[in-house]
Amino acid sequence: MKKSIVSILLSFVGIFLVLGLWAAISANVAPDLPSPLRTWEESRLYIMEPWQKRGEMDQGIGLMTAYSLLRVAKGFALALLIGTPLGFLLGSSPLFFRMFDPTIQILRPISPLAWLPLGLILFRQSEPAALFTIALCSMWPTVVNTMQGVRAIPQDYHNVAKVLRLSPWRKFTKIMLPATLPYMFSGYRLSLGIAWLVIVAAEMLTGTPGVGGFLWQEYNSLIYSHILLCILTIGIVGFILNRLMGFAETRLRAA
């Protein structure tokens, strides 16, 4: 208990040191960078009235975050729906693995910025293009971790399935899925992190309302303090998402 209080205090010390560094840089090195205080004053309206809608691209930070989160949720769900079965197939069939592993290794490192124009060409609308990009970029950790999870199932469990003469479906639900679940969840957590990274790029390029879209618009309107507001929001939301997934993961492992 005492230890956790100390670490919370220490993390606040760290935050204040970084804020101090930020203030020092804006005061001495980069005059265009708004100071923490100015950022707070100019962003106050957006933070204190988070659900206020004044215009399409002029909304409280809560609403903006909600739009982005909804978009990420859709793209992430799509990534899981495609990535999980794909991981199971790759993990359980050596033939399938040899056939598709090289392709996956090539597709994996492609940046969201490269996929998005392709999505726009394919769907001709920004929303599906954004979802396409999020799904395509964020599904790989799910695919790879699920695959590794399936491969890590001990031979003993496969023998148990044979000895008990489990049907393929029973084997899947009673052995394969529970044995792979912890790996899958590690993949999900990494995928969600990537989905949240991709959202900013997707919204910037498509100009849709959301944290990323707002950031890009305020850059074009020269309201730099709002860029910092968006950056901080993105960081904090990402942190919370990661914590939530981590929490779910430990609950799962304990069960």
């Binding site: 003993d156 469990y157 023998n159 044979k162 000895v163 008990l164 003469r165 069960a255």
Partner: protein, 265 residues
């Protein structure tokens, strides 16, 4: 008429010959043990006999039919228990009952699983997961799982190998009791590294020589009344002589001369 039949089984892993020219037959209801040192190919042999692995050459039949994969009438107890850690003891046993009796209701499946957990003395621990059970209790669950499907033939791959001596002795007696109480002939093929365990449980014992290219010794009939106690092994002349002959074969690879055996007995 033999129930399980192995004819001229050979198996190699790459250039390494594991088993060579192994033939063995078990009558229905017979309990046969194969004793051998570790890494002598015992586990490979029981996997081939049960259909979990295939031999390079030779044939396996159970009840006259060629074995091609693990058959319905068979059950198996693994050395490392192989329980599913995310299921309770009851669910682990029930998982084996369902495919064995597909026509039953869920209630009957649960009752059958509980009945066998009770028989191994784990009725009260039915809802615990394997992680909450000791090694001996886990192996009891594993034995209950094998018996609950009411197999006609049972393969036991060093079932007590991972247990301490005391637990081992108790479980040996429980296994013998379960076989007797089954109400039908249960043929069993047990792999073990313990000569004493083989004598306690078996009708006949074969020793598996050292690999590579291990072959089976002739059978040693265990002509001792049941139930057998551990004390019997120490004092009964026939048991002592049998222990000696088996140990002799395991160390030298030759069957001791009968004269010598008599002398010891």
């Amino acid at each position: 008429m033999s129930y399980l039949n192995l004819t001229n089984i050979a198996k190699s892993f790459g250039p390494r010959s594991i088993l060579h020219n192994i033939s063995l037959s078990l009558a229905e209801g017979e309990f046969v043990s194969i004793v051998g040192a570790s890494a002598s190919g015992k586990t490979t042999l029981v996997k081939i006999a049960s259909g979990l692995a295939t031999a390079d050459s030779g044939s396996v039949t159970i009840a006259g039919r060629a074995v091609n994969g693990f058959i319905e009438e068979a059950g198996m107890v693994f050395q490392n228990y192989s329980l599913l850690p995310w299921l309770s003891a009851l669910e682990n046993v029930r998982l084996a009952v369902e495919p064995a009796f597909p026509q039953w209701t869920p209630k009957q499946h649960t009752d059958q699983a509980m009945k066998y957990l009770d028989m191994v003395g784990l009725g009260k621990a039915a809802l615990k997961t394997p992680a909450q059970l000791s090694g001996g209790m886990r192996q009891r669950v594993s034995i209950a799982r094998a018996f609950a499907a009411e197999p006609r033939i049972l393969f036991l791959d060093e079932p007590f190998g991972a247990l301490d001596a005391l637990t081992r002795a108790t479980l040996q007696q429980e296994l013998a009791q379960l076989c007797r109480a089954a109400g039908r002939p249960v043929t069993a093929l047990m792999i073990t590294n313990s000569v004493e365990e083989a004598i306690l449980l078996s009708d006949r014992i074969h020793a598996l020589g050292r690999g590579p290219g291990a072959t089976l010794s002739p059978g040693f009939t265990v002509d001792l009344a049941r139930p057998r106690s551990a004390g019997l092994l120490m004092h009964d002349a026939k048991a002592v002589s049998l222990r000696h002959r088996l140990a002799e074969f395991l160390t030298t690879g030759a069957v001791a001369a009968p004269a010598l055996v008599k002398e010891v007995a």
